[in-house]
Symmetry: C2
Subunit: 442 residues, 2 copies
């Protein structure tokens, strides 16, 4: 993509309304625009990040056996009356009357609807386990939306729902999502730590929040520093092997970890002093087993191997991709701007023409742009007429992993400079070596 | 994907509520489920089709210079008051009050919001032309939603918006979208014919509906049969060459074509008798130049080369991917079910194990499943225990382009049968030839 044609409205000033760094940087980098309280448009650069975040989520959900569907945003109130949540859910639910005066709502979550889908079609334990997920916009009418897309009213959510014959099956389903989440966050360059969360009236220990460590995090968290070295399972992890998956969950839940609310001073005291890590964290995912909470009132049953009807045992598993885009920035930025992990970077390389209009600089840039693109790299080519200093600042701000810098002096010597955005390391190399350097993909 | 694990709720009975064939087949094939009046969930098979439709749309929008953004579904009423449409838009607009009693609405379209984005950032003609599009859910509260996803209340829409300095620029932008639409529908296996549409108070000739011919179409259309042979531009068409693009538009608007409303008996009489094609059609896209209709009231201006402020000249360009999934079925089905064009088929191949449990059939199927998948084919492997007849019926119903049929008798002879869903042609071939037959992708 040529920057001269790309809609990238960089802001020079720090927007006053932004209280946190991700909000500030997303506005400044032209990723998002606020449309109303807690409501944002995603501009081209932001949309690319959101798509990459969603792709990773999708790949890991599919790998773990999830099947993607897509439920509508507007729901009938009837299902929520059936589950008993229509009155419980307070003012956060956006309630709507259609032209026939039917009670509708903008879905804040989809337990009811997916249970309705399930009970319409699935009748036998033979069709289990089943995990259905979708990535769809949700609306929660918060009193005070803030922090940009980190806590907006309209937000994108991946919500998965598992259906099993009994608790043992549900636990295995829960474990698969647990491991899928470890992989998902790892692939985005995040260090996510699962922490036990409230289970409410359901009880049990099957509720975890995934918290990433970021100095600007919203809440305080406490964990054993062993988490930092625990290996995340690779792509070859066998989701069909319940024991293998349970083993991973066991290892990832053994060391102490707790959010502020769940913190236990006594258990914390048992962690060796040099191993106590107390830090700021941001919740990026939540998985939850709720058993028959919805299947009972909504009569979602299957016939078991015993010939009897059983209420299915369910769980739900959420990740907010729009929130995640901001959380990644919270975890990865510096004074100059965003530092994208490769996997979610909107482009791989910023190709910077220090002197657009200079025939040699232009020629080398065109050559590199074509060559890198052909090699499978996603390149944002700054072919604009601005000053070199402003171009460097923009490249640092939008945080692409690599900068390939083409200037008159280097070109005269047949060389360009390559800068790693994360480390700041610079390397001078012959023009002819650049495409090979970044290979099939950098 | 193994059918034994795939959530594909096939219906044996014809659903009574379905009035048209696409609605009936989408319900029967387990593609969609109705959630409320005019509101549908997309089940796994349907979601795959919707994704492929969107991907083609996106690729062609990008090729023609469009840039993808994503605007929220919920809009503030303020923008619509500013444009003057808040009161004009009748009961089809879903109006909402949030907890602060602010007037909101579920976007039925996005001219206002995109104009707001534009005016916030773009100040100079040097940043034009600009085309921003998004693929987002819309809601129109129709009195009588029907025909499944063909006319639903919540529906997916790709809406693009072009911004230009003057009419000449806007016309070139319009032409690019015209050609992009020709390519988009062609890639989906559709014969789409652009027909002049009402321009209302704007006037001029820059409004076209793209109509596909389908015997079950919603309206009558009239056109010169030369359209059937007009070549659609290939992927190498040069969208940067305004003259080339204008030439294509000229060729595609020269022969007579009109919907019922725009039909002109006198002009029709001038079409040679043997060339008159009157048929049923379905609208699948609409492109529209509306000049300064929104830029004026909303004060969206740029500085021109003359140093003066100019209201930008705009157009909008819509395709409904959810509607399109149904329209493709209307255009391509038979008694037995759907016949997917390759490009939007949910899977490429139905691999049918006629006798699951038979060790030789199982072994050959596993071998083919692995081999075809490795070769890049998307395979739905029917490994269930059902009768062969029911499996054939399901494969025909869901309409994958190819069936690879593995039965005990063939396997004993080292052979399988390959059936083309569209033509019904069958071919017997050695097991070892199958993967090669479908190559990198069938």
């Amino acid at each position: 993509m040529r920057l001269s044609r790309y809609f990238l409205p960089i802001l020079k000033e720090n927007p006053r309304e932004a209280e946190i760094v991700s909000h500030r940087l997303m506005l400044r980098a032209g990723m998002i625009r606020q449309q109303a309280a807690g409501s944002f448009s995603w501009l081209p650069l932001g949309k690319r990040v959101l798509d990459k975040v969603c792709r990773i989520i999708r790949e890991e959900q599919n790998r773990a056996g999830g099947q993607e569907i897509l439920m509508p945003t507007i729901q009938s109130a009837d299902l929520w009356i059936e589950s008993g949540r229509y009155n419980d859910y307070g003012k956060e639910m956006l309630r709507i009357r259609d032209r026939q005066d039917r009670a509708m709502l903008y879905g804040p979550t989809n337990e009811e609807m997916v249970t309705d889908i399930f009970r319409a079609y699935v009748k036998s334990y033979k069709d289990l386990p089943l995990n259905l997920y979708h990535i769809q916009w949700k609306f929660r009418d918060e009193v005070r939306p803030r922090f940009g897309v980190m806590r907006s009213r309209e937000f994108l959510m991946k919500d998965a729902y598992s259906f099993d014959l009994d608790f043992e099956g549900a636990r295995a389903a829960y474990n698969r999502m647990f491991v899928a989440y470890l992989r998902t966050f790892e692939r985005m360059g995040l260090k996510a730590i699962p922490m036990r969360a409230e289970t409410g009236p359901i009880g049990g220990d099957l509720s975890h929040e995934f918290i990433i460590l970021a100095s600007t995090g919203e809440s305080e968290v406490f964990c054993h520093s062993d988490f930092l070295d625990l290996p995340v399972p690779g792509p070859d992890v066998n989701f069909e092997d319940d024991a293998e998956i349970a083993g991973i969950v066991e290892r990832w839940t053994a060391p102490y970890a707790a959010t502020d609310e769940m913190h236990d001073e006594a258990a914390w005291a048992d962690v060796p002093e040099g191993k106590r890590l107390s830090a700021r964290g941001i919740e990026v995912g939540h998985i939850f087993h709720f058993g028959t909470k919805y299947s009972k009132p909504m009569k979602a049953t299957v016939t078991g191997p015993d010939g009897q009807e059983h209420f299915v045992s369910m769980g739900s598993y959420g990740i907010g991709p729009s929130r995640l885009a901001a959380a990644i920035i919270e975890a990865s930025h510096d004074e100059a701007g965003i530092i994208w992990p490769q996997s979610v970077a909107p482009f791989d390389i910023a190709l910077i023409n220090m002197k657009a209009g200079d025939s040699e600089c232009d020629r080398i840039c065109e050559e590199l742009y074509a060559g890198l693109t052909a090699a499978g790299c996603e390149v944002l080519y700054d072919d604009t007429e601005g000053r070199a200093g402003a171009k460097f600042a923009t490249a640092d701000l939008i945080g692409l992993p690599w900068q390939v810098i083409v200037g008159p002096r280097g070109v005269a010597a047949g060389e360009v400079e390559v800068k790693n955005r994360a480390t700041g390391a610079r390397e001078t190399m012959p023009v002819g070596a650049v495409v090979g350097r970044f290979g099939a993909r950098p």
